[in-house]
């Protein structure tokens, strides 16, 4: 049985169906994968040729609805990523009916 239990109180990254990337501490979850993320930040990454600077937007305490979540993964903090220099193309959004 897979469970988010192991991720509780740990730093996680969440990808949402509208192709956004969030990072924060998983404080709780329920059966429909609604999650509580504290100290949430949104990571905005641009393509290299767009010439825009990546952003980290602090958002605070977030409750995300399970239907809006694609995946949740624990962050390996031993390997620091320099988010300001990383570039990549946009994730494709998943189209879900309401």
């Amino acid at each position: 049985m897979s469970s988010l239990k192991e991720f509780l109180e740990k730093k996680v990254r969440v990808i949402s169906t509208d192709a956004r990337l969030f990072e924060g501490i998983l404080q709780g979850y329920d059966n429909s994968t609604n999650v509580i993320i504290s100290n949430c930040i949104e990571l905005v990454i641009y393509e290299e040729d767009e010439g825009e600077e990546n952003q980290q937007i602090p958002l605070g305490l977030y409750v995300m609805r399970g239907g809006n979540i694609v995946c949740i993964g624990e962050v390996d903090e031993s390997e620091a990523i320099d988010w300001s220099t990383i570039h990549g193309s946009e994730l494709k959004g998943t189209k879900n009916p309401l």
């Binding site: 979850y29 329920d30 609604n34 504290s38 409750v63």
Partner: protein
């Protein structure tokens, strides 16, 4: 902690709701239920691109349309503390109850006392 528990702890506090269509709704949470349906008051609704704003005194949001909620930062600590207090209270009540059942000598006198102690938490059968 369960997300819906945290949400109920956010009652009467200002929250931000983003809907699946990108609209955001700011307002004070009046009530919520287990489907995450919400009622808000003193609401400001913003269009997906943030170019139109609408002021509404009260509104109802069906939970299924919600993408995410943004809650006040200090709410997490408040809710945790509340949770702890509730748990302690429950433990104390349980201990009291166990204390009665494990002691057969505590006869009618004691149980009458216990009944009056618990009268606000459990219905009394004798009546």
């Amino acid at each position: 902690m369960l997300p819906l528990y945290l949400l109920t702890a956010a009652k009467n506090q200002p929250i931000l709701v983003e809907l699946k269509n990108g609209e955001t709704i700011n307002g004070q949470l009046v009530n919520c239920d287990s489907w995450m349906n919400l009622t808000l008051k003193d609401v400001i609704q913003s269009s997906p691109h943030g170019d139109e704003f609408l002021k509404i005194s009260e509104c109802y949001i069906k939970g299924i349309h919600i993408k995410y909620l943004r809650l006040p930062e200090q709410l997490m600590d408040q809710a945790k503390e509340q949770n702890l207090q509730n748990m302690e209270q429950r433990n104390r009540n349980n201990q009291k109850r166990r204390g009665q059942s494990s002691n057969p000598n505590a006869n009618s006198n004691a149980s009458a006392n216990a009944n009056s102690n618990n009268s606000n938490s459990a219905p009394q059968r004798q009546q």
